[in-house]
């Protein structure tokens, strides 16, 4: 029975990591439903972006208040995870503070964890106030109604509880070390928990052990639960921000993709030697669908971005259409894409393969009114701290509307007819193009 806690810990760890791995595989499967994009070359530039934008948070600090708070939580998260490593070793082998052989280094390490934990706690409370009391527009806009709003708060509660448990665990541990309790060898420096919980001084050794063990177990179980919550929440960015930034757009923002399938047809049309009545060659592939009407028409990069989006709303708060009360919200474009992709994924799980469900991303999730409100100004792309490009999805869906359905707003059809007939969006004769030079 001596090893019972170790065995239980091992099982908890296996279940926690196993279930998480299963869900990550689902994400990979779903992202692969998108079409492949050539991202070869430019590896140096892409890794540079990962270092600067993802690791270095360079686009977060464009908004200094939330940016700095986020850096605290981010640094805290990364560094406190060194402690999780120790917890896992201790849990598996029944040791206590196994890294304490590092001596003074360990003392400073623990001290820094404690200070960071306190800072994270404060930052997370500020985040909660910003979301729930301050009524900042991007946190109360209608696209966050319901689950997304609750989801954001659950994440904050998780982080608060985890930090508190960590500090309680340390506080009780420190008390037991002072008492010279067996198993609790003196290790670590506790500048925060020592002041935070003076009430612990009143407890007996037995109670303190109970408190320390409870906090220890709840802390590590909490971390595993949080890890598994990621897949169901908007919080996947803590992992996916890195690949997403790597695959982010590295050409000028104004450069939109030219469709190769269209190039082939236009070249054929302009080739005087081409036979207009020729039947397609034997085994020629069918022409690709133009643009996107469903999530699976998008690219893998766009689908990865949908899972990466953490719904911070910086895009929407800078979008000229959103600002002036139009229905378009770039954040909602990403949320809708993810929701539809998840729906397709569940459909595949249930039926073995995708069974048409009479739904699609266009109309059932993203309306035409939203798509036509975009000015393609790139403000959303510029604002995204993790290099998501909502504009590319809007453009792909417009292509479907115009090229597959001829469903552009009538005024645009007129402009396009003009371009086609007389080389300008207005009905002026191309032969009059130089008249301006003779006008006074």
């Amino acid at each position: 029975m001596q090893y019972l806690p170790n065995i239980i810990f091992f099982l908890v760890l296996i279940v926690g990591i196993g279930y998480f791995t299963m869900n990550i595989r689902k994400i990979i499967r779903n992202v692969k439903l998108g079409h492949e994009v050539d991202t070869s070359g430019n590896r140096g530039e892409r890794w540079g972006n990962v270092l600067r934008i993802a690791l270095g948070q360079s686009k977060m600090v464009v908004r200094p208040v939330s940016g700095l708070m986020h850096i605290i939580v981010y640094v805290g998260f990364v560094i406190i995870n060194i402690e999780v490593l120790e917890i896992i070793i201790d849990g598996l082998f029944g040791t206590h503070r196994v890294l304490s052989f590092l001596g003074p280094v360990y003392d400073y390490l623990i001290a820094s964890f404690e200070i960071l934990a306190l800072l994270v706690l404060v930052a997370v409370i500020v985040f909660w106030i910003r979301r729930n009391i301050q009524r900042i527009q991007r946190f109360i806009s209608p696209d966050l109604k319901g689950w997304p709003k609750n989801d954001a708060n659950y994440i904050l509660y998780f982080e608060m509880v985890l930090m508190l448990l960590f500090l309680i665990m340390n506080g009780a541990d420190h008390m037991l070390q002072d008492m010279g309790s067996e198993h609790y060898t003196e290790a670590g420096m506790f500048p925060v928990s020592i002041h935070l919980f003076p009430i612990l001084e009143n407890f007996s050794e037995q109670t303190l052990i109970l408190i320390e063990r409870t906090a220890w177990w709840l802390h590590i179980i909490g971390i595993l639960v949080f890890l598994n919550y990621l897949y169901f929440s908007k919080h996947l960015h803590i992992i996916l921000a890195f690949p997403n930034v790597y695959y982010g757009k590295i050409v000028p923002k104004g450069k939109f993709r030219n469709l190769d399938s269209v190039t082939k047809e236009v070249e054929l049309m302009m080739d005087p030697a081409a036979d207009p009545y020729a039947a397609p060659a034997e085994g020629a592939e069918a022409p690709a669908k133009f643009g996107a009407s469903d999530a699976t028409d998008l690219s893998r990069i766009q689908l990865l971005a949908a899972y990466t989006c953490t719904e911070c709303g910086r895009c929407t708060s800078e979008c000229p259409a959103s600002i002036t009360g139009k229905k378009l919200s770039p954040r909602k474009i990403m949320m809708d894409t993810r929701d539809r992709l998840e729906e397709i994924g569940k459909n595949i799980e249930k039926n073995g393969e995708f069974k048409p469900d009479g739904k699609q991303l266009l109309d059932d999730y993203i309306t035409r009114e939203e798509l036509w409100a975009c000015t393609t100004c790139n403000a959303c792309v510029q604002a995204c701290p993790v290099s998501i490009d909502p504009l590319s999805i809007i453009m792909d869906m417009r292509q479907f509307l115009v090229m597959e359905q001829s469903a552009a707003p009538n005024e645009l059809n007129i402009a396009m007819t003009n371009i086609e007939n007389n080389g300008a969006p207005w009905p002026y004769n191309q032969m009059d193009r130089l008249n301006w030079k003779n006008e006074a």
Partner: protein
Amino acid sequence: MSEQIHVPTMAEYIAQGKQPEVLFWVGCAGSFDDRAKKITKAFVKLLTNAKVDFAVLGTEESCTGDPAKRAGNEFLFQMQAMMNIQVLNGYEIKKIVTACPHCFNTIKNEYPGLGGSYEVIHHTQFLKSLLNEGRLKIEGGKFKGKRITFHDPCYLGRANGEYEAPRELLEKLEVELVEMRRCKTKGLCCGAGGAQMFKEPEPGIKDINVERTEEALEIKPEVIAAGCPFCNTMMTDGVKAKHKEQEVAVMDVAEMIANADEL
């Protein structure tokens, strides 16, 4: 402004067996829109004044396809692009300057993939280089000390990362350059991009150009400087909507330079 300006075409150049230093891509707005034509003429005056050997395509120029592409009509875009590329390559064009950021962006970024690679420059960048080479002299003139704000065109700024060239030109005019709250990377669109110029906006609480004009008027400029014919129209309409057309002018940077010393 009554004297006729000399605008040679590429056809004329080739007939004489010459190549110009740069092709001036006028664009649809610059060719047909009454307001934008003034910008075209102002820029031509500056080119002439700086003794730049330039030519235009004239009737051989056609829409770059930008509004078609942004509206989702990739087919029409590529047809326009390929026809233009045939003309440009036929004339062996190497360097193109344009006063329209949409033409600028499309030719610079989207034509190379279709076989048309040129050095493409926005007119504010070109004027800046003329200035640096000493070919163009800019003095404060009538804008000296005036309060001016610059509205960043999305397709020059965010789309292509050029924020400084127009501002440097304004500084040469010795104006008091004041920035709007949302400027440079955070600049707010005028509302015309993405083919919005050619349609009514979707229902909302306000038009985008009004939102942007209000922001500009907050800092009380005498001139709202622009670098794009569409921004120019949108901001002019915005100023009219706010009944401020008597106090606030909307002018292209090239017009300001040409007007400054009454060329």
